[in-house]
Amino acid sequence: MKLRFTIEATAGPSNGLGVAKRAFTLVEVLCSAAILAILCLALFYGLSQGFGMTQTAREALRATQIALTRMEGLRLEAWSTNQLFNPVFVPPNFTESFYPLGLNGSSSTGTVYSGTMTVKTGPFTGDSLVPSYNSNMALVTVVVSWQDNFYGRTNTFARTNYTFVAKYGIQNYVYAQ
């Protein structure tokens, strides 16, 4: 009994049942706090990266929509009456916004997109597989570029879309009706 009492007295405060109570040391607390901080940082960094990628994907989808809209409208620009190659009808530069006017439910238009649209007629050279009728086709290139600002970083993006317009395609017979 004497020996046991001595051990309890030197080991620290007792709960009266012969088991000594020990707290964490400062080193243990600091180590656990550092590990917790690293885990939290990783979690928030992952989340912010997820948001950034989602936002970029949304902006890229909108850029693709803008390019497709321009290319779809081309189907009604007549080749024969020189609308397709007229910059008054098909302007080489244009500007769009992420939220078309009124679509956001507010006056905010969001990210601004700058676009270029070039219409180049054949003949196209440099490829042995170019078909013989290529001089009756026009290559349309639509480039849409934009910038976003995510957590203080400015990133520049661009999407390029191509399509062909045929001289005797839909726009010719539709407009001639």
Binding site: E72, F89, I170
Partner: protein, 183 residues
């Protein structure tokens, strides 16, 4: 010695039963509340973030499917039968009709044909159709169609959103398109 041992042990029991001082209690309460607040805030933020990212993906998927289906229907149509800012009806090559309706009360965008109806978009807050004639004007614009039979170009735009904990925050999908009828 046995007597000394008993006295010392009683003192120890008394010490172990003693409560916290006011300062200890105040510090513990403060530290506990700070930790609890941090845990709750982090949990709510992380949950909202995961829901928002999931909503973005879900809304984007539904919007793409809807636009692909509607583009196919409009391009294949022989003519536009009827038009309103929230609805269009198209006639197909086989004589059947397909209708797209937006119902503001339920926020549903529905596609209907001879085989039945299908909700294409849920949570659709805004949708608008515009129709244009075949002849283009300056600056890539088109003359508005006054009758369905004049229509050659259909312009559609919509905005869908989802709620997170009862609030519509940063979970929306915007879609715009112009589609030419290839008849």
């Amino acid at each position: 010695m046995p007597k000394r041992f008993q006295l010392s042990r009683r003192r120890q029991r008394l010490q172990s039963c003693s409560g916290w001082t006011l300062i200890e209690m105040t510090v513990a309460l403060f530290a506990g509340s700070m930790i609890l607040t941090a845990i709750v805030t982090t949990t709510v933020f992380v949950s909202k973030s995961f829901i928002a990212i999931g909503n973005y993906t879900d809304l984007g998927k539904a919007s793409r499917l809807t636009l692909d289906t509607m583009s196919r229907d409009i391009r294949n149509a022989t003519a536009l039968v009827s038009y309103a800012t929230n609805a269009i009806t198209l006639s197909n090559q086989d004589g059947t009709q397909v209708t797209y309706d937006w119902y503001p009360a339920t926020s549903h965008f529905v596609r209907s044909d001879s085989s039945g109806s299908r909700i294409m978009l849920a949570g659709c807050d805004f949708l608008n159709f515009h129709v244009y004639q075949r002849n283009p004007t300056n600056n890539f614009q088109f003359a508005p169609a006054t009758t369905p039979s004049q229509t050659k170009l259909v312009d559609v735009s919509w905005r869908c959103s989802r709620k997170i904990l009862g609030a519509k925050i940063n979970t929306e999908s915007v879609q715009t398109a112009e589609i030419v009828i290839r008849n």
